[in-house]
Structures are given as structure tokens and as C-alpha cells.
Symmetry: C3
């Protein structure tokens, strides 16, 4: 099936099935990623208590782990939820926020990659490079630079780790180690709102909840947010607060017609 | 006094007295419920440290407990604050987010109901049913179904627990075990923004801060948010991000004239 | 150099250097202060794990401590980050949210002031008065009254503590114990959105990251947010949700031309 038709079909499935997306995520973006998930059409749940994460993930269709404001007890809960998700064949998506910036973030992300079977890792070039053993600089949660291209970083990560790598930036790159997609959707204003990276991870989680191929799910999630960003920029211009509100409006309004018309994906 | 006139009087009292509303609530909606409280006219404070909750509730006029991203230590703080509020005759409102979805949420909500005298419990049909011992399905924080009507669930809960039950849904139902109110205000767009249920609980807390009758306070809070939702939908249409911003605008603009004109409450 | 020209120069430096601002702040405003920092032109990072705060502050250009939803373990992390920042000569800004309202908040703020060299403390009159040993009333996070004027409170705090005091209110007052600035910028709508006080502290942090004189940094931050508030009120009127979105738009659009035209600062 054509890649765009697969994305369309998955978007319609999300809206029909309303899959529950279990998020163990950071304090900064909890509300924002929950709203992104809800606007796209799925159901968000935020739950991190080690006493309930296994039970909660058991009724979910995808698990999104995000280490953005991590402490070790939260990573324990993430690992436990991830292992249970693996037992139940529920896809797990990881956002290694700030990997490369501090040891705690790098090591916690590695620990999750080692202990949990991850379907898709979504991060910026610096974060994914740090986890792939490629030199990079991450300042806080911002990728400053890396000694390889995004394609190389994604391919190296995917082939060594066995997870799909989704490296976002001016052009997004998705690799499963064999095939690569370059996604030219998106808008510079997405970089002017906190948490749009985390939103992209959560939206990949929505697609993974209804799509058995993680490569297709990752491409679908990034195309969806990228187009929504373009739509929001069209109506809000250089106004990040207004753009932020319109981004939810656009995720809600996104449909197959817009995906077919606006998606810019190159497969290699 | 007529029910609508009581709501009007209470709204004016909120704006005149600016009661402090102490919230121990979930991470997802802290900012949003604080803004809802502030826009309505009261003063929000978010505080969960077990070292200060008794002192904080001592200067507050209502306490709102919400188990949305609970861990056991937070429930300890909720119980301690609730007991102190009971001693001081400060009304306590409970939002049992996700009760019925996991044991931790169900049991923590039951524990608070057992240990603290709760004025009003606000939840969806599935959550309140789970606490009333009625079969229901709760997926994350979404009510999927229950084996009784909202009226039956509210009446059963109120008569067995002795708290006012406020069951929100397409039609909101409030019961104190003797009388029932059905509130036909609200808008489908309220379901497209995360945390509007939690906002309704917080707003009931504002009304309870100035109104000695918890049944009237619960009706007032749900009418207020329902009308604000209708006003916001009028100006924003099917755009959830824009609707979200306009919802705060509408809570701020809400007045007695609109309540008298737009409230749709049926008492039985 | 003229004060306004210093503010202009600092704003341009923020946008050119994009300094990393490390925040250990409260749950209510994490997203909002991060967006304010990003819209102004700097890079926000939120990180509170005691395992990583020293490493994170080591790559930052300013540290912002905010005790808004404090627990003792968070204060431990704040102290540790603050001490490391002092070693590295990275400026530390403190927001003593709710000092005066509970012992935990007052004592934690005092502890940070005793253990860490603080460049600027930003709070309302009641909070700063409580820390300066002046009688005041703080209800939750709202200053109800104090037995001295804002100028007296700021001057007393600054001369006894050796930190610049930035006391915000209808008129903002900044004192370093020798000179005083009164800032007449701002708008009443800033009081209708939760977290604008915390935003002002975060923005002072951005200015302190590029400005060696903390008095100038504090004035710059308050002028910047004040003017942004006026700009947002111009376009949104009495609509707090819309104002909130426009506030980010305005921080993003703020430039030297507007600062030169709109700043209203009186030095004494």
C-alpha cells in the first residue's frame, strides 16, 4: 500500500477506535501532549505511579515514555510499564529528552532501551546521536550539533538498536535500518512552542496504537504533526501563542484530503 | 430562593470575597484549573507538601482533591488536608479521576471517602458508578459505559455515601439523595479539551466556598462551566485550541444576566 | 549607559546568544515559564533531579529557583543547584512563591537565601516583606497587604540581604539597597492569568544570563514583561484566555523600538 494511504487509513482508525495512549511523561508537557492526543482523536491517560502503571498499560493500546523531567523513581515506573507492555505486545515509544546533556538522561534512556523493547525512538539529532554513540552537543533539550547527518544518525541507531529511529529537525528522518523516509513537512514556528517535540512522540504513539509497522507509524505521526504545524502557521503567522492554540485546532481538523495534498515524504 | 438566583448570588460572592481555593490536584491540569478558578473570580493555590497542607487549608475557603496523577504519598497529603478541613468546617470536593480504571485510583478514592467528610464528589458516570458499587467501564479517564442511568448512579452514590454526587456527561446530574437536578448546559467541545472535568470540580469548589448548601454549590458550578462552554463554542466553533482560550474568556465574562438567560436546570 | 539602552542591548544579546536558563520551578507554571523564556529568545530547561541539577546548571547561563509547589526534596535540589551555580558564577534568581503564607514556604525561601548567593529575588510585596521581617499578609500566593510601602520593602530586603529585590505589583519596584527603579509598565490583565509573576522571574533570569549587573537585569526583565502585557492587552481586551496567548506573541514580537517607545522607568 502507498505510504500516504497507510497514513490516511491509520488516522481514520485512530478516530474510529479512540485507542488509549498511556503516557509517562514530563511535567512541562503533560497537558499539551494530552491535548494533542485528544485533538488527533485518541484518548490520553497520564499515569506514573509504580503501583498502577502495569494495570494501566494493560488497558492501553500504546505506551509513550518521555524522560523530560525524570527522576530515578519515574524511570523505575517507566521500566516496569515498558516490560508489561512488551509482555502484552503493546508498542512502546521513547522520547529521550535531553539525552547527551546530562549523564542521568543519557543513562536512563540507555537503560530503557536495554530493558524494554522499544518500537520507535523519537528525538532530535543530538539526542539520538548521543544514544547511537555518535559525537553530538545537546544544550538542555536543544540539539546544537552532531558529527554525522540526521540520515546517518537514524540509520546507525536503528541498525544497532533494532528500534525505528525518528530524528526530527528541519527535515525529519525516519529509519528502520533498511529503509529511510525524509519528511519535509513542518514549520519553523513549531520550534517556538515548548513541547512540540514531545507532542510528535505522543502522536507517533497514537499511530503505533493502530499500525503494526512501526516505521509507517513513525512516518505517519511526523507527517500529521508537520502538516498541522503548516496549517497553524498559515492562520497565525509569527505569533507563537496564537500558533500554539491553532496547532490543536489543526490536529483536530486534519483529514485525509489534507494529508494527500500536503504530505511531502521521500522514501529511500 | 429560586435556584438560579442562588447561583447568581454565589457568583457575585465569589467575585466579591475572592475565596482561596486550595487544590491538591493532578499534574495535567494544575495550570488549567488554577486559571479557571482565577477567571471565575476566586484565588487558586496549589499545594501538596504534607508539611504544609494543614496550614494552607487553614487559610482556604474550600479544598479540592483530585486523584488524576496520584501516588500514595499524594493521597496521604490529601487525607491529612481533608481531615483538617473537616475540623475547620471547610468544604471538601473530590474528583475521583479514573476510579474504576485501576485499583489504585478506586481504592484511593474510597479511602478519601471513608476518611474525610466530602461535600461533593464530581466525576463521570463510570467513575461515580465504580464508587457506588455499580458495574461500569472506565478507560483511562473516559467513561465508556455503566449498567445504570446517571440519575440512578448519582442517587445511589448520594444516599449511600452521604455526599452530593455530581455526575457529568451530555446531561449533568446532581443528587443529594433526596432531590435531583438535571443540567442541560454545556457543549460537546468541552470534551475536546483535556481537563474540563477537573475544571468543573474546581469551579464547584469555588461555589462551595461561598455557599453552605453543597447541592446548590454543585449545581452552580456545573451551570457556570456549562454556560461558559456554550459561550466559548459560539465564538470558536470546532476549534479545540481556540475554544480552550475562549473558555477562560467566558468564565471571566460570565454574569448573572447570562445565567438567568441561559441556565437550563430541571429539578426533580 | 542609559538604562533603556542597556535593556535593548540585553534583549539583543538574549536573542543572539540564546542562553540556557535552568529552572527548578513549580508544577503549575512549568510550561508557561518555559514558553515565556523561549518566546523572549532564550532556551529553557526544566530539571529538578538531585542527581543531575549540578551537571545541568553547569551548562546553563542562569538558574531560576521557584518554590511554588515545593516539597523538602525539591528544596534540597534547589540548594544543591544554587551552590554549584555560585561556584561557577552563574546568576541565581529566586521566586519565593507564597512566602509568608505557610512556614514551609517562608523557611524554605530563607534557607535558600542563607545557603545560596542570590542575585535577584522577585516576589510580590507580601512575600518580600515576609522575608525582610516586615509584617504582611499573604493569602496563598496573593499579597493582601503589608505594613510598609513597596519601596521600603525592596530597600530593606536589598540592604539586609545583599540581593537585588524586585517587588512587583501595580507599580514594580527594584532596589539594590542604593538605587531604586520604579517601573510603571504592565497591565491589570497580567493579574488575570496564573503564573505571570513566575514568568517575570524567569524573564529576569534571561536578562541576568547576559547582564552582569543584577539591578539592570531585574529592571530589564520587568520592563520586558510589562510592555509585553500592554501589547497583549491592546489586542485582546478583557479576555484572559486570549490575553494569555497574546502575551507569548508579544514577548516574541518585543523589540528595541517598543522598549524605547513604551518603557516607563523612574530611577531614584
Amino acid at each position: 500500500m502507498d505510504q500516504l494511504e497507510a497514513i490516511c487509513r491509520d488516522l481514520e482508525r485512530i478516530r474510529q477506535d479512540r485507542p488509549l495512549i498511556h503516557n509517562i511523561t514530563n511535567f512541562v508537557v503533560m497537558n499539551e501532549t494530552a491535548n494533542a492526543i485528544l485533538c488527533l482523536g485518541a484518548l490520553p491517560i497520564m499515569s506514573h505511579a509504580i503501583e498502577e502503571v502495569e494495570e494501566m498499560v494493560g488497558i492501553a493500546s500504546a505506551l509513550v515514555l518521555n524522560v523530560g523531567t525524570l527522576t530515578p523513581d519515574w524511570v523505575d515506573a517507566m521500566e516496569r510499564a515498558g516490560k508489561r507492555a512488551n509482555e502484552l505486545d503493546i508498542p512502546v515509544i521513547l522520547d529521550p529528552v535531553g539525552a547527551g546533556a546530562t549523564r542521568l538522561r543519557t543513562e536512563s534512556s540507555r537503560r530503557l532501551l536495554n530493558e524494554v523493547r522499544i518500537s520507535v525512538v523519537r528525538g532530535n539529532a543530538g539526542e539520538i546521536a548521543a544514544l547511537a554513540g555518535i559525537d553530538s552537543e545537546v544544550r538542555g533539550v536543544e540539539s546544537i550539533g552532531a558529527s554525522a547527518s540526521a540520515e546517518e544518525i537514524a540509520a546507525r541507531f536503528a541498525s544497532t538498536r533494532g528500534s525505528v529511529a525518528a530524528v526530527t529537525g528541519e527535515v525529519d528522518v525516519v529509519s528502520d535500518g533498511k529503509q529511510t523516509a525524509k519528511i519535509h513537512n513542518g514549520h519553523a514556528m513549531l520550534g517556538k512552542v515548548v513541547g512540540t517535540g514531545c507532542m510528535s512522540t505522543a502522536i507517533v504513539g497514537c499511530f503505533a496504537a493502530v499500525e503494526s509497522d512501526p516505521f509507517t507509524a513513525a512516518v505517519g505521526g511526523l507527517v500529521a504533526l508537520g502538516i498541522a504545524g503548516e496549517m497553524a502557521a498559515d492562520t497565525s503567522g509569527e505569533r507563537p501563542g496564537t500558533f500554539h492554540a491553532h496547532l490543536y485546532d489543526s490536529l483536530y481538523a486534519l483529514d485525509c484530503a489534507r494529508i494527500r495534498k500536503l504530505a511531502r515524504v521521500a522514501l529511500a
